[in-house]
Symmetry: C2
Subunit: 701 residues, 2 copies
């Protein structure tokens, strides 16, 4: 009775029945379309565009329908990417309290991918590989899981002060952790917990050859997770900065070669490494040198007032090469098992100096040649520029205006100051271009200011040095900004991102919680024009800082190098099952599952265990085609993996819930993706085949 | 010695010292800029655009620099949104195995926001509110946390078959759960676990007035979390579909008024509710009517082959009004405590019929008038169209071609079939427009097909009914597609999204794990032209299906209605501390913290407890300004909240780790955001002020 329709021919056209009875989709139509598309596109790109009157009329019509003006059309043309065209830059942005990193293409401002770092993320299978998941283990703090982070400052690895595209580091302000991401596979490889403190802020940034990943603290506390009431603030609370040694060959921080510097209990804030003229130094801002302890509940001024009373805070100038020498000479003491150079040593060895900086500063940013440190005091309408030549001279000549309460020498402000430039209200952060301009975010003005550097940069543009040139309004309340390679030794000077913290009315409302607004500015032309080209809502976290790298510096793997690759070790894993080795074996209550995954089936398709068994499951993706990713989940068991081409994963769990559980491929892999499944049977302890129903489970026929 | 610089005037210009000593940022500059921007924009929009030769030359220059052709310029102009201009549509997309929902603006294809659903997400503070977090409690399955989901099919609430913009429902395929999202504040309010099965697929979809939220199963299993080996498949495994009763006034599913239908152990797949002519019915596809049990490890054909052997599967036709009547008449039995109408009842009461459908179908989609059900058999080059008139007649006239193994009547294929239209390889899903066209995704062709409907739709366009009109190639492997309001009673017919599952070479590579590709097609013009306008990478999950709603149907709250609002109850919470009630009180080992948060301080700023205390912390955001969101975290304690304007949150935890922990605002709220902090002091049990260091903690002076 089953009506036959003519489907067999078509079926045969796109599936191939292999010897083993395996159906595989042929990718011929897609591949052909892909080639043909590229050919047509390349031919089109070779022809110069000269809009005909008819085409201009079409554009006019669309512009009128959509109420676009000519600036809109130009902005659209400057940011639009035709299908398949790749962006010029990748913006690696922190995800703030999402705990992740976001990668965004520039100039199209399209979110390319999030990278899971401090927060488990199931699409990537990050933290969903059973009880012994190495991700979850790394996220433990003092033996308890802390499953989120407040990512603040991403730092691309550098060679000679320029991004080299190999690694990305990022700090977790909330819990004082630093993560290492490998940019071959864009996965988090390591998370280190700071053993001294609970919050960081000037993290991460790197020395010019990535010798160290620096993690500066934020809120002073009792180092080593100690306790002290606020009355003991000056005596027992401390700041710190940690120098994590990076082993580039291993792609890991070497905790055993790392150390920290004790700092006074000011709230250390942003930081930057010297380079060129200032190589060997790094610089950290601070605020609350008042050492206010708040206590609004006791009638004290709140922190916001108490910490903003003085006109000057302290720029921390650290000679990290001397610090390294002191550490290697055994001068560190141990706190919570971690070596720390105490303040006395920093003073005695000439490692730490202060320079006055106005007032409650936020950013300190080093110019591309390393000569200038630009400090933006958020309650001061100026940026203050220091020069490393002046700093070195003041140190050599001991031009101090005194010491702080802890004995740290304070360099004379006029001796180290190169310039002050009035920009507007609420200056925060500064980046640079290739035309002698600096760009500073103005939080309260909601604007980006362009201004001129002096010294060797004066020759690069027509304007007077150390002068405000232009302001572009942004929407609204800009925090950080980021120019293309704008904090390296060779900025590119074409694109700039305004990381506007509030979007208010810019986008459709998304509930009381709104996205941030990344605005793309065109800074290619000198002078006063630097228009906003694009508003990008960021509704997946609250980014804090980002860095923009030329895309061609990234040497991303398209698939894993070999089948059976373990991304945790970045090596072929000898435990990875090979074709023919699949199966289920038992040793007492321990069951070992060896599984392979290939379009469109798992092998084996049934795994039977007993309730209470400890299950070790090894699975390898046999694919070698780019984008042929499989997922693997066991329903009800909190397990989901992302099996990228070639990837091997082992996970372990206890089969503590009896029942018959489907497992299936969670990543759409082929036309027969839904059929890529199997059953995990957990036989109940009590009876053999007793269903859990209270009444007859199903009608029988 | 502190050098004075002139900052006082500027400081006074933007901070106001209130009586209480509280510093508040003035928002005057931003608000003025906002108004001025709107004024300029409105004036510009009123002027018609007529590009001058000079402006055309500028466009030509940019086009040549960036190698854009005229189609690119048109696509750019059709998708670009000037700063502050709002998108016309919101696309609510499932996030696949990310467990979340994504909201995307159309036509700009900008990700506006993710909404946390099945996976804890720290930016939104979702699942990070201590031990008793109501989110985490809802995510438990049989007493254990399952902290992710595989979100598949979002369903907007409907009134008379049209989106009403009030609620969004979504299913979790991996764990058979359904979530309810309130579109006033865009937050997940409820998660219900299906008590019968472990995986779902046809979930969620709604009846035309959202009387029920339907959850269809996927992989057959032993209902009620039972166990049975594969040998007992036909006897003990079953499919199911659950009808969750929705209480619109409460905004919640009423589990006590919900019930399920037992189905044969075919793998039920996608589903759609009837409307108009077919109101009162819903339709579910199925595959694996072969009841293949796989077992490639035993030399059996794998599921992908075994489940694809037959030429016909069964379209399930369910009369849900009759099912409701049977349930109300007490005809359900209980499985795992949940009422289920067994197959006998479905047959006896005329609730369930089958119609043959070719072959391993994926989508069943009901035309806007409810007359036609379009089935796409993924291994068949045709779509098959059924009509409800024919189905009703065949039922009335008992035109059966037999029954299946479980006794369900199978309607005669020729009696119910309206048309078959040959489209190409791998048809999956169909949506509709306002011009009499249907659009079907072709997975293996990597194309979107436009074809004509018949009946009353034939008059709406110039082409012959039931005929392929055009195909647009997409990149690559399209799964679902989505037209503007394209599955409602009144589709809009302007935009269509191709949810292309593989992106391969379309974007910069992002490691072995690549984004999906949402491609925007312009379907506004009739006939053969329906160009791709935009490629949007989706690198935050693997979306499965989406729905596109006119933005003006959403009545989103900009802030919570009152200060002290509890989003879990959507009511003012009497527990919310009021100004003046702040403080810390103790009852034995239980400590109660009452806290307020307002730019830029918490009140109180110090909270002192003893190690081991049980802490209940109530915090309310006193803000009433849109976008004035605060965060609140306690470092090291796995706690982070998103305190949106007016929001009240209570969280509870044990202070089990001694130390002095900063808490701070995690959402950039003002120029003095960094100063919005305090300390949580956990006094150690052993000694009063003993720091945890092994050696002297800090140098003393």
């Amino acid at each position: 009775m089953r009506p036959q329709i003519r489907v067999r021919a078509a079926t045969a056209a796109f599936i191939t029945i292999l010897a083993g009875g395996v159906l595989l989709e042929s990718s011929v139509p897609a591949a052909m379309a892909q080639q043909e598309g590229r050919r047509r596109r390349a031919a089109a790109d070779a022809r110069p565009v000269e809009l005909t009157p008819d085409q201009v009329a079409q554009l006019n019509r669309v512009a009128n329908e959509r109420k676009l003006n000519v600036d809109d059309l130009l902005a659209a043309a400057k940011t639009f990417m035709p299908s398949g065209r790749h962006d010029e830059y990748v913006l690696f942005s922190s995800g703030g309290q999402s705990g992740q990193v976001f990668a965004i293409g520039v100039p199209s401002m399209r979110l390319l991918r999030s990278i899971a770092v401090f927060t488990p993320e199931s699409w990537q299978g990050y933290g969903f590989a059973g009880d012994d998941d190495p991700v979850l283990k790394q996220l433990d703090i003092n033996g308890k899981p802390v499953l989120w982070g407040d990512t603040h400052h991403p730092a691309l690895s550098e060679t000679a002060g320029d991004y080299d595209g190999q690694f990305l580091f990022i700090g977790d302000k909330a819990n004082a952790r630093v993560a290492v991401i490998d940019l071959r596979d864009w996965e988090t490889k390591q998370i280190v917990k700071n053993p001294l403190t609970i919050s960081d802020h000037g993290a991460a940034f790197v020395t010019p050859n990535t010798e160290y990943v620096i993690e500066g603290g934020q809120y002073a506390t009792v180092l080593g997770y100690g306790y002290a009431p606020p009355e003991e603030y000056k005596k027992l609370y401390r700041g710190m900065v940690t120098m994590w040694k990076f082993d580039r060959s291993k792609g890991r921080i070497d905790e055993s070669a790392s150390f920290a510097l004790e700092l006074p209990p000011y709230w250390q804030d942003l930081a930057d490494a010297g380079k060129g003229a200032s190589d060997g130094f790094f610089f950290i801002n601070s605020f609350n040198v008042e050492m206010a302890v708040g206590g609004v509940e006791k009638g004290n001024p709140p922190f916001e007032a108490g910490a903003s009373k003085r006109d000057m805070d302290y720029l921390h100038i650290v000679d990290w090469k001397k610090a390294e020498a002191a550490f290697k000479a055994g001068k560190a003491k141990k706190i919570n098992g971690f070596p720390v150079l105490m303040i006395e040593t920093l003073i005695a060895d000439g490692i730490l100096y202060f320079a006055p900086e106005p007032k409650s500063p936020h950013g300190v940013d080093v110019s591309p040649n390393g000569q200038y440190m630009v400090v933006a005091g958020k309650l001061d309408p100026h940026v203050t520029v220091y020069s490393i030549d002046r700093i070195k001279r003041a140190i050599a000549e001991r031009k101090y205006s005194g010491t702080d309460d802890y004995g740290v020498p304070i360099l004379d402000f006029d001796a180290v100051k190169e310039a002050q430039v009035e920009l507007g209200l609420g200056p925060l952060h500064t980046q640079f271009d290739n035309k002698g301009y600096a760009y500073t975010s103005l939080f309260l003005d909601s604007a980006v200011a362009r201004w001129t550097l002096g010294g060797e940069y004066a020759a690069l543009n027509a304007e007077k040095p150390w002068t405000l040139v232009a302001k572009t309004p942004v929407q609204y309340n800009i925090g950080h900004l980021c120019a293309a390679e704008g904090d390296t030794v060779s900025p590119d000077g074409n694109y700039l991102i305004s990381m506007s913290k509030w979007s208010v009315d810019r986008f459709l409302p998304t509930g009381p919680l709104l996205p941030q607004n990344f605005q793309l500015l065109d800074i290619g032309a000198p002078g006063t024009a630097m228009p906003v080209l694009f508003d990008m809502p960021i509704g997946v976290g609250e980014p804090h800082y980002c860095q923009m790298i030329k895309a061609d510096k990234l040497k991303t793997w398209l698939v894993y190098p070999e089948i059976g690759w373990n991304p945790h070790t970045q090596k072929l894993d000898p435990r990875a099952p090979k074709k023919g080795e699949e199966g289920v074996t038992r040793d007492g209550n321990n069951v070992l599952v060896k599984m392979t995954a290939i379009r469109s089936h798992f092998f084996p398709e049934h795994v039977e265990v007993n309730e209470g068994d400890r299950v070790t499951w090894r699975i390898v993706a046999m694919e070698t085609t780019q984008d042929a990713t499989h997922g693997f989940c066991i329903g009800g068991y909190n397990i989901n993996l992302s099996l990228e081409p070639g990837e091997f994963i082992e996970f372990t769990f206890t089969a503590d819930r009896a029942g018959t559980y489907p497992f299936y491929c969670t990543e759409f892999c082929s036309a027969l993706h839904l059929e890529m499944m199997g059953y995990f049977h957990v036989k109940p302890k009590a009876a053999a085949a007793a269903p859990a129903a209270e009444e007859p489970v199903a009608s029988r026929k």
